[in-house]
Each structure stands twice: as C-alpha cells, then as structure tokens.
Symmetry: C2
C-alpha cells in the first residue's frame, strides 16, 4: 500500500460525528479511498454528545475547508432536524447520515444507510425482493433500512422497537407511499421471517443482551446485523451456531462508499 | 520514514486555525512528531474567517476528542479575548497561539511564538541579550516576540507598526514591567539596529512590498523573518544580497514544538 499523502495546510477535511466514536470504521475506509485516488483530503472522527450537537454543527459550518460530515449513532434524527434542507429519503425517515454544505449556508442532509444496506445484501447474494422481513430497531439506521427494503421490493416488513410508538410512527410514514406491506409488533415477528435485521446498537458493548432470539426463526433464515464492531456480534455468532445464514454490519458501510462518492464529489 | 498510523475512530484530534490556511506548516511538523512517537493523534488545518471565529471555537469545544488548537494569523488577538483563562504572557501581549481545554469548560490560551522565536535565534547562534533590535509588526506574533526579546535581555527594542497606535499600546503594556528599554517609531529604526525582525505577514503573498528597507541597516546586522512560506522571503533575499545575516521563519515554529509538547502533554 502506498504511503498516505501527509496532512498539510491544503488538505480538505471531512468528519464523522458520533457518540461513542471509537468504533467508527469510516475514517479507515474513506481515507483508504482518498489515498488510492491521490486526493489531498482526510476524514477524521469527531466525538460529539447529543447536548453539544447543535453548537458543534454551527461551529463546523464555519470551517471553510471542511466539505462534509458523516453522522452516526445517536445523531441521525437530530441532524435531520438541524439541516436547512433534506433529501426525499430523509423527509420520510426523519434521519440522515450525510451532510454537505448548502450553497446558501447551512447543511443539506441525505441518508445512504438504506441504499448501502440493500447493495451490501445483494453483493452477498441475498435478494430482499419478495421476502418477509423482521426489522428490529426503528431509529436512525432502522428507518432508512425500512424505506430501502420496501423500495427494493420486500413483500412484508414487520417493525419492532423497544419504544413501540417509534415503530408505529415510522410504519405510518412508510405506509403513506407503500400501503399494505408494513406492520408493527411489540415482540419481533420471527416465526415466518425469511430475513431478520438488527438495526439497534445492541451488540456494540460487551454484555449487551441479544436484540432478538434467533432460535425463533425458521430454518434457512438470514440474520443481518448493522453493528460493525465486533464483526461477529453475539447475535451473529448465536445465529450461525443455529445454522442460520449471517450478514455482517460492515457490508452496509462498504457499499455506501459509492453513494458518498457521488454525494461529496470524491 | 515509517508509515504514519492511520486515522481511526480512536484518533485524538488537534487543529490549527488560520485565514488563509494553505501555508501553515504545523500539520506537517506536528504529525511527524506524533508519528515518531507512535501516537494515535492527528493535527488538521481548519480555515476560519474572522467573522466565523467565535462560533467555530464554541463548536470545536463540543468535540470531546479534540484536545487543543494552534492559532495563526489573523486570529491571535481574537482568541485571547475569547478564551476563558489566559497565561501571563497572553495577559501582557493580548495575543495567543495555543488553546487547550479548561477543566471547567472553555479554552485556556497561551502564547509560544516569543519563546519559539528566542529558542530559534539561539539555536542558530544569534544571542539577543544586549542587542538593539528593531521589530516591525506589533500584531499577534510581534507582541509575543517583543515580550520574549525583553525577557531574553535585549538592551533596546524599537517597535514599528503601520498602525502607530497599536505599536504605542504594546510599548506601554511592555513598559510596565520593563521600563526604559521599549520605544516606538513611525518608520523602522534601522540605522543603529543589530537585529531587525519582520513580524508582519508581508512576504507571504507574491507582490507584497518589503516590510522594511534592509539597505538602511548597518553592516553585519541580522535580518529575521517570521514568514515561513516561502522560506526565502523577498526580504531575506534582499538582505542576503546586501551581505546581512538572515534568519528564516521556520525556526520559530520548529522551536515551539518543545513548548507545545509540554503544554498539550504530547
């Protein structure tokens, strides 16, 4: 691998915002992309708590050599509200994971989680069209993945969240344009699911409980996780031990790089 | 040279703030230092205009993994006012070039320009003690260099600035603790100077006029510049052509690294 171009006064900046931040993979992946392209740019991690988010975004808008932000847990809904303009997907899901400068000032928010998740599934040979899917977690990533699964042709999507009102709100927004295919349940609807997706952060911290019980799935089901660190989450290990197919979280991020490249002009 | 540690989610951040920013040397110098120490940290450039400075500082204070800031032209006086606590040198000069977090919130401001300038002079064999010195530019760097030259034992220091009131204000603050050794003139007092120092930004931009006329200096004088890019400024080239000794701007920054190391705990 060639040596990365050193950071100098001319380097353009990008950042990824999250809380916690140590687990984010974006700096490694995106800086490798910059390096391969010989681009004088760097993506750095920025640890921002929810209380500090609005002030941080206002301050970062003042950095003339900072061209864009990626956004991760727990800020995806907040940045959609703080943006001065949003993409159609953000308007439906209420969540964003990428911000670039608006020509008139402020930030334009987009969401590539769902797009990346679908591309990642397909790249691994898992076609969501026509499937019955249980999605656990209706927060930032979950909302975007739900919209993208429906756009990709999922036959039936059941949403579950520890906050049932959050799942119902998302289902109602999705049902406006996709009637009859979205349902909510208080406990995950696993018995007839072809695919079960963890879109919660459970599995990031040692000792987290499993987000759902993979032994309730039928034989041959696919278990997908959006947690990227560790790659083999306790959920995926339990699912694999039961003979289920598994799909790791890093695919979603890796397959978002093409979307980011277009969005940011990399 | 070993490959730098890649930027990841655990990387600690530092930044240098300026306007313009492309010319700053700190990212290269400090990242080399981090690299040699195997430290998981990176210093990035941040281009901030004067109108955006207060909001940028407030936002950067919200980045929990950003541990400190270096500050360059034209922000050195503004950050001294915006800091919540200042070092004794900052209290005298009204300018700062390094900020670190205050335990109670906000920024603590210090100034290592003067210290770095003196260390750089001495490392090149130029002792300021006992000398008559003409200092041109009473702004951010000039103020700090003036205080440090007096602390280092300069016998007579004459200050000149295109804004004469700025030179007089600085002289009066310095004279409180160092009576009888500081003077101001409207045009640089070069005829009897042992050392003449350019502490203005003149020489950074192609076509800048010279900050003073080196042919007015006596034979054997030393001409020092704080402009770092280009290393051989038009002033230093003109002085060298006249047979004067010259001292380049990068020495000041290179010799500040030890001070930064202590201040930031590198």
């Amino acid at each position: 691998m060639p040596e990365p171009p050193p950071i100098s006064g001319t380097t353009r900046l990008y950042a990824v915002l999250g809380d916690p931040i140590a687990q984010v993979q974006a700096p490694t992946l995106v800086n490798e992309l910059f390096q391969a392209a010989g681009r004088d740019a760097a993506l750095v991690p920025m640890h921002v708590t929810p209380e500090g988010l609005a002030e941080a975004l206002a301050g970062l808008a003042r950095l003339a050599n900072l061209d864009g932000l990626l956004v991760t847990v727990p800020h995806k809904a907040a940045v959609a509200r703080l943006a001065s303009a949003v993409s159609p997907t953000v308007a439906i899901t209420g969540t964003a994971n990428a911000l670039r400068r608006q020509p008139g000032g402020g930030w334009y928010a987009a969401n590539f989680d769902g797009d990346g998740f679908i591309r990642g599934l397909r790249a691994q040979g898992h076609e969501p069209a026509g499937r019955t899917i249980a999605l656990i977690g209706a927060g930032g990533a979950g909302s975007a993945i739900a919209a993208a699964l429906l756009d990709a042709g999922a036959d039936r999507l059941t949403l579950t969240d520890t906050n049932p009102a959050r799942a119902r709100d998302l289902a109602s927004r999705l049902a406006d344009s996709r009637p009859g295919r979205v349902h909510t349940t208080v406990t995950p609807a696993l018995a007839d699911a072809d695919v079960a997706v963890n879109a919660t952060p459970l599995g990031m911290a040692p000792g987290d409980p499993l987000p759902f019980a993979p032994h309730e799935l039928p034989p041959g089901a696919l278990v997908a996780d959006i947690v990227m660190h560790p790659a083999d989450t306790p959920l995926l290990r339990a699912a694999a031990a039961l003979g289920h197919r598994v799909h790791q979280g890093h695919h979603m991020l890796r397959h978002q790089l093409d979307a980011y490249r277009d969005f940011f002009g990399w």
